[in-house]
Chain length 203, copies 2
């Protein structure tokens, strides 16, 4: 059964990115610290973190992405822009990008195609569901799209990687998401992260 999921690294104080995000520092001051469990700067990776990192992109047949994640900070819509990920993005599946400006689909190497969706998050999720078939749909981010999906009752599973970092400011994940009921379905941990999956319970 296909599910709509999102997996995000989050600071203990609830931020997905630190303050002062910029083109040079897209995840803000301190934001890199959220991802060391997946991309250790030095030393060996804990086996739990390695296992989780290997899983997070598996089983996903399509993605939904916010426009800001696709072209963050580039200002007016730039048709020469082909995303941050080079010729062969890591998605290897259709990616439905929410935007207000229509654009022809962008076919990349390795199976990634960016489709541009102008009629809202529900439509983007529906198109991604159809494209994914029996596989899951991943809300790739950013925070705003995950919040929209939660608020609209579209997200079915939230997989958080909670790291022992306090950012103090930045972009918060769980603000203004309505009142979804969550059920904790799995907890794993390494010395540097808690990996917890929540099921969003439909009212």
């Amino acid at each position: 059964m296909s599910r709509v999921t999102a997996q995000l690294s989050v600071s203990l104080d609830g931020y997905l990115a630190g303050p002062n995000q910029s083109l040079e520092n897209p995840i803000g001051v301190g934001g890199l610290g959220l991802h060391t469990w997946a991309f250790p700067a030095q030393g060996a990776q804990h086996e739990v973190d390695a296992a989780v990192a290997a899983e997070v992109m598996s089983g996903l047949g399509a993605f939904v992405m916010g426009r800001n994640m696709f072209d963050s900070g580039r200002g007016p819509w730039d048709l020469s822009w082909r995303g941050w990920w080079g010729d062969d993005p890591p998605y290897h599946a259709p990616v439905f990008v929410l935007t207000h400006r229509p654009r022809e689909p962008l076919v990349m190497k390795g199976g990634t195609t960016f489709h541009f969706v102008t009629n809202g998050v529900e439509s983007a999720v529906q198109q991604a569901r159809e494209a994914a078939g029996d596989l899951d749909v991943g809300i790739a981010g950013g925070a705003s799209v995950v919040r929209q999906a939660l608020r609209a009752g579209l997200l079915e599973e939230l997989h958080l990687h909670v790291v022992p970092v306090l950012l103090g400011a930045g972009e918060r994940l769980l603000d203004d998401v309505g009142e979804p009921a969550l059920e904790q379905v799995e907890v794993r941990s390494s010395p540097v992260a808690i990996h917890v999956r929540y099921r969003v319970v439909r009212a």
Copy 2:
């Protein structure tokens, strides 16, 4: 070696209490849901939750408490007020209550004595350390005192019980606490809570 610790139940979105706190509902709308792991409304308690609940008050030789937790919402200092906990409060140890008004110590049954400290959180923690001897000092709450202790570098261990509840508003624990570095030292979980201990690393 004596440590200064705090243990708190917190919603996944970071709140210690819900919105609209009042005398009738001191932990706000939805706040009771933070404590069902410790006090299950019905059904059996998970063995992990039972073990954690049994531990959280052990090994503590003295406490520090905010004035608001002692007399929440009572307005002007009321010398007839003897706390929320009846004649035999659950502390069974000296409790140093931060306040701006001097008051004689209040000796309760069962070993609890409320001492009123008018010269700030550092002094309260120091007095509690001396009273605790080789045992630990517990910051009993509320949120404001825990934040003060974190900011002042006085807290050595933070033990959180993270429950799969979103409160959406209320009193947040980890706002404006400076930038303490945390080290995750233990994670346990039941189906309804993640119990995680962090050591506060001194800079």
